[in-house]
């Protein structure tokens, strides 16, 4: 099996989901699934005027790549990419983009979902929300751990 093209970018600059998707698709992609996460604005006392994203340079890229490699070992992917922003972001701005290209849609959906679940629970990023009531670190959510636990360890050792 051909090796999937895997790319990871951690950056301060904004990104364009359309351009990222265009760069991902290859001649054989039958199916492309993308996820884009945006800063939620909240409202009232919970309004978010700015989101600050801290990360662990080095470990972040390494863990994102490991997640893509796990996905490519489980499903026959043509390409998978993650772009994650760090620094200060405004409400509505895209934070994260995950794109997966495969011959068929089943594996493209599963792999994109899988990558997001592990990105949320394993990649060293931390969010701090700034709003009218001050700044507060976002708490991790048990529901994210539960989603990640849906994926049984891969047993077929493909890759």
């Amino acid at each position: 099996m051909a090796t999937a093209a895997l790319t990871v970018q951690v950056q301060e600059q904004a990104f364009d989901p359309g351009a990222l998707q265009q760069a991902l698709a290859s001649a054989d992609s039958g199916a492309v699934v993308t996820f884009t996460g945006h800063v939620r604005g909240g409202a009232g006392a919970a309004a978010v005027t700015c989101l600050e994203l801290e990360h662990y340079p080095g470990m972040t890229e390494r863990s994102l790549l490991a997640i893509l490699e796990d996905a490519a070992a489980r499903w026959p992917l043509l390409a998978a990419a993650v772009v994650h922003r760090v620094g200060r972001l405004g409400p509505g701005e895209p934070i994260v983009w995950v794109g997966v290209s495969a011959a068929h849609r089943g594996e493209a959906f599963a792999a994109c979902d899988f990558i997001m679940d592990f990105l949320k629970t394993r990649a060293p990023f931390w969010k701090k929300e700034h709003g009218p009531a001050g700044a507060a670190w976002v708490e991790s959510r048990g529901s994210d751990e539960e989603r990640a636990a849906r994926w049984q360890p891969s047993t077929d050792g493909a890759g």
Partner: protein, 83 residues
């Protein structure tokens, strides 16, 4: 030497991004390193005593029994919240 890093809430609580410490027998495990750091004061104790504290050794998640060698990079941080 051991390179020790702190991130996010833990970084803010201990008031320090990173520090370098000589390797010693006392610091031959994550647990030993942590015990020493906790004696630096109540904020250190509070930040590093949290039950959900995550430890990474050389950029891989580890547990408190993990052994440390000179040159290792050890990081302490809260559960991740990216994406």
């Amino acid at each position: 030497m051991l390179r020790v890093l702190f991130f996010a809430r833990v970084r803010e609580q201990v008031g320090c991004d990173s520090l370098e410490l000589p390797w010693s027998e006392d610091r031959a495990t994550v647990h030993g390193l942590l015990s020493g750091l906790c004696q630096r004061g109540p904020q250190w104790q509070a930040a590093l005593g949290q039950p959900n504290l995550v430890v990474a050794v050389n950029q891989r998640v580890a547990d408190s029994a993990a052994r440390l060698q000179a040159g290792d990079e050890v990081a302490f941080f809260p559960p991740v919240t990216g994406g």
